[in-house]
């Protein structure tokens, strides 16, 4: 009798566990790429923190658009969380460091803008569900087809005010020298302009030019040092009083990063450019408590898409397919 009981219980347990395995197996049939966010005890202190060695990497493919059409790029991406904050690490090859962003150069007689843009990487999450974002990704927000309700002069936005996206925008020239990524959000496109908005609080960058736009207005304040990659921060700038002191070939930053404040300062950035590659770490609290940010719940999965910009403006980018961000607990 005891033997029967043991056999019955063992069989029942085996069936239940077997069934659970079958049921809990990922039943999704789509080929959406997944970035796993492993939980770690201690927050990484930098780009070379040993915790990144253990994190699972995903090679995210990007397809070029506009001037990059038919070109491809790959970003090695890792993500971890501590239960309080989320950390992303991106690494991609880029043979040229681009932080010019129209910097001024004095040619001996006049100031001219240098040709050149900046390197950037951006991520888009849903704050409130954006219709079809989970399946179409940026195609419904950034690269909307002609005739779509939110297609307006190549602008960027959602179809209704109920749809909101959280756009993390790391800019090598305009945000990184301040140690942040620009924290912005996306909502319905309006009649006059796109749906991109800056998060509450200050930040962004300040244009360094005189009212007649002919020359720079600011230079590095005495006792201050230039920021990363020789970029002049707005906080370290002082009005130029003597233009004759400049020598031919002197350069000045045109778009001076401002130190962000409030909700706009949620995303911290650490980066370096070495051996023809960018390595960028972004971090943010899982839930900032701000309406203009996605609140990450580690029990949930999120759709997200990314774009890469190589010394280029908004239209010329490399875009990823929409992916899934999945937390482990």
């Amino acid at each position: 009798m005891k033997g029967r009981i043991v056999i019955s219980m063992a069989l029942a347990l085996a069936l239940v566990l077997g069934g659970m395995f079958l049921v809990s197996h990922d039943l999704e049939g789509a080929t959406k790429m997944t970035l796993n966010v492993d939980r770690v005890k201690k927050a990484p202190t930098g780009l070379d923190d040993p915790v990144w060695q253990k994190a699972r990497a995903v090679q995210i493919p990007f397809e070029g658009k506009e001037k990059f059409e038919n070109k491809k790029a790959t970003v090695t991406t890792k993500a971890i969380h501590t239960g309080d904050s989320i950390y992303f690490l991106f690494k991609w090859k880029d043979p040229t460091l681009s932080v010019t962003k129209g910097a001024w150069k004095y040619d001996g007689t006049k100031w001219v803008h240098q040709k050149g843009n900046e390197d950037r990487i951006s991520l888009l999450f849903e704050i409130d569900r954006i219709n079809k974002f989970a399946t179409k990704g940026c195609a419904v927000v950034c690269h909307v087809p002609e005739g779509a309700p939110n297609a307006k002069d190549g602008k960027f936005g959602t179809t209704s005010a109920a749809e909101k996206g959280d756009l993390w925008h790391w800019k090598a020239a305009r945000s990184d020298p301040a140690g942040f990524a620009d924290d912005t959000w996306v909502t319905v496109i309006s009649e006059k302009k796109g749906g991109r908005k800056s998060d509450a609080g200050g930040g962004g960058d300040k244009k360094n030019m005189t009212e007649d736009k002919s020359k720079p207005m600011y230079q590095l304040a005495p006792g201050k040092k230039l920021g990363k990659n020789g970029v002049l921060l707005a906080d370290d700038a002082v009005a130029i009083t003597n233009y004759s002191a400049f020598q031919p070939g002197d350069m000045l930053t045109y778009r001076m990063p401002k130190m962000p404040a409030g909700s706009r300062s949620d995303i911290r950035a650490v980066s370096h450019y070495r051996n023809g590659s960018w390595t960028v770490m972004l971090s943010r609290k899982l839930d900032t408590g701000n309406d203009d940010d996605v609140a990450f719940n580690p029990r949930k999965s999120y759709s997200f898409a990314m774009a890469l910009f190589d010394d280029s403006g908004d239209e010329d980018s490399y875009d990823s397919e929409v992916m899934t961000l999945r937390f482990s607990r």
Binding site: S8, M20, L27, G29, K132, A134, S303
Partner: protein, 359 residues
Amino acid sequence: MMETQNRSKTLLEWLALDTLVAWVRDLEVSSHGLSWSRFCGSLSLVLVVLLFISGAFMAFYYSPAPGAAYDSVDYAQFNIPFGDVVRGVHYYAWNLLLVVVGLHLLRAFFVGGYKPPREMVWISGVLVMLILPAFIITGDLLPWDQKGYWSTQVRNSIMSSVPVLGDFLVRMLQGGPRTGIVALTRFYVLHTIILPGLLLLFIAVHVHFLWYRGISGPLAGEEGDQQKKVPFVPNIVNRWLFLFLVVTVVLGLVSWYWPAPLGDPADPTDATYVPNPEWWVLSLNQLVAIFKGPLTVIATAIIPGGLVALIMALPFIDRSPERHPARRKKTILIGAVIGSILLALALMGYIEHHLTPLE
């Protein structure tokens, strides 16, 4: 009567339930009902009760409209305290119920539980089992996620291949040519009102026949046990309540650590999504993969319909009074062959759909 008049009435007397309660208290059932081999019957009832309770909680938050259904499920699962546990219990309990009811039926087949005078006990039990997939089919669409939406399209396509009735059934179910708001409303009504009503009816019929025809006692050689009686309260009821508690805690923990999946919101324009068939439908799905084109009807109607008819008619096909499996070798062998074929098909399907990477 005098005594009742001289003292105040109890609550049960006020509610006129005293006679019923006394009857239940004095009720005795065969001690064989406590056997471990009957575990699946009690567990099925535990799971059905859990499904009704968890389903009722989820219904408080659910909105059956394509634009709102996904968000309402997402909200209930991730914003309501223990919402993911409730949905997880509902999700895992269904899957477990299919396994447990299947085992319950398999045991009845093995020990000849369908033999006279219990033919109707068997048939009503098969009806209970047949209604369960209908719950999953209707429930699958309710979250309005990719998996539910596209699985429904596959099922509709299979259903429409049934001759004569197929297209009509799909139109009736969907309320039109597309899976939209009317379909979602109909699936919701079926899942929460009509099917639960039918399930309760079938369970009542099953219990009715069990009561009047009795449970199938032990196989020959253990007849003495059948005469033993035990009180229904507390022997059966307490065991059942203990089982209910254990199952609730286990499923709650499973749901906490492995939450029920909620895929991406349904996108009817995303034809690239290929839903993987669930474990319980793998053999049928594999049949559809084997019988293609004009032969599809064999996989979608003839074989499944024939199997159901065979199972229902079993008490009238195997008419010998013998119950011991060792003396019913022919029936057991046929059952084993059919079972092995279904299992092999399911394994083939599992390898094809779950272990082979998508191209």
